[in-house]
Amino acid sequence: MADRRRVNIPFGPQHPALKEPESFLLTLGGEKILAAGVRLGYNHRGIEKACEERTYIQDLYLVERVCGICSHSHSTCFVQAVEEIAGLQIPKRAVYLRTLIAELERIHSHLLWLGVAGHEVGFDTLLMYTWRDREVVMDLLAALTGNRVNYGMNTIGGVRRDITPEQAGQILTAMDVLEERTRYYIGVVTEETTLINRLSNVGKLSYDDAVHLGAVGPTARASGVDRDVRRDDPYAAYEDVSFKVITDTHCDVYGRAVVRVLELMEAYSIVRQLLKKLPDGPVTVKAPRKIPAGEAVGRYEAPRGENVHYVKANGTDKPERVKVRAPTLANVQVVAHMLKDGYLADMPIVVAAIDPCFSCTDRLIAVAHAEPRPPETLTWDELRTYGIDWYRKRGVDFTHLNRTFGNGAT
């Protein structure tokens, strides 16, 4: 007889607390989570394979769509790797503009996260106000790049759009507005007792565990891990600007909130420095369509943590291999650890605290059979019948419903 004191609960793939499908299997003892497991694989989109089928220019827009929030992160990471293989020297102004958009993206992502975190703990007022203020930076991004998300700013050999002095002025004005608002949110996060009590000691992750499990980004920095690609392996224009890497020793969700709001202040400072130092000159160099054979890894500190792209070129206009490691993949195992010994009611905020982006994370895992099976080809109808049978064997049968509503042959 099964142990009644231990109950297994599937949390997801479809669950109101999750914004994207993901499966967590929780073992509960009462309200307490005794063990947690994460299963990825509900959002696989085949992006890496699709990249191999397209030219580098087409891939730019594809990798940009790996993530809707950190789209610039992915495209910059990819384009940096490609430029390294091609040995392109990017004009200084283009590098600065890339960094500028990167920091504006970080601002919008962190403000978005603050709102989501507020929402997950039932503090919807915070959600409404942070998202209202986030519109300032979203409008700015739309004006600078041509779109609110998927900016399409990068191209191989530079950036596609230059900024005018008036726009630089607009950015500075917006930074002043946002800085004032962020000071207010820092006040909210550090003084609002309901928020502090709700987030403190939730999703604990010690320094050792953060290092051991390979946490990245604000999740790691909130556990005192002083790690930031922008400083450790400077790319783009980060060498030319000074900024602090924010760390915190709370080691819980509260610490992650503090790290993110303080990082916002650093982002405003970086944007100001960039605009002050913005060199003149062209924003793009001519890039070859065919990239010479070679391989490179792009590293990038996305708002959620370190983003890695590996690109292998074979001398044609299409890459031979593109590998994307989104920050959530590094952090998702950390979630399983953080959930342990916590309460079921803390689950949504613990998951939200890493700022998860599950569809960015999903990659195909090929399971090597001990005995290789011959490949099968199924037509669309055969696949459908196979799916219906698969579920029927497991006791899920919609035949009756289909007959009633008349939408299906079986």
Partner: protein, 160 residues
């Protein structure tokens, strides 16, 4: 000072301040200059190099040769991701972006837009609906402004 209700003052102030949202669609919204909306094609400038077709990430654009140095263009707006790479790729600036963004359609056919080649003999056909509901679409480069497309007769209401 650590007290609950830190945001209370802000919330109460918002009760008497103007809404942060705009009353779209009652209020029209203009997009920033660089906004990447619907594409525009100028048949006179096109030389048929098809670089746009080659660079389009989704294969949304098709340039057809209809005669001697005359090219027509089909754009599938359902496939278009509005990256405007074709605009960058075009050496003759035959393609341009407009600020038009209200492109939602219930009829998929209306998302397929055709620009006829310039000097097409069937100019008289311009104002009569074509077989594939492409009438909502500008037929000549001169008509290709956003105001033509905003013709309410041809478009279904935005939210049906």
């Amino acid at each position: 000072m650590k007290n609950p209700g830190k945001m209370l003052r802000e919330v109460l102030e918002s009760l008497v301040s103007k809404p942060a949202t705009i009353r779209y669609p009652a209020v029209t919204v203009t997009m920033p200059d660089k906004f990447r909306g619907k594409l525009d094609f100028c048949a006179e400038k096109c030389i048929g190099c098809k670089l746009c077709m080659r660079d389009c990430p989704t294969g949304a654009i098709t340039i057809r040769k209809v005669g001697d140095k005359r090219f027509a263009c089909d754009i599938d707006m359902a496939k278009c991701i509005y990256c405007a790479q074709c605009v960058d790729s075009c050496m003759k600036k035959a393609l341009a972006i407009t600020g038009e963004f209200e492109l939602a359609q219930l009829n998929r056919d209306k998302l397929r837009v055709t620009w006829e080649a310039c000097g097409t003999p069937a100019l008289g056909r311009e104002n009569e609906p074509k077989s594939t509901a492409e009438a909502a679409v500008p037929q000549t480069p001169q008509d290709a402004g956003p105001e033509t497309n905003a013709d309410p007769k041809n478009d279904p209401p935005p939210k049906a």
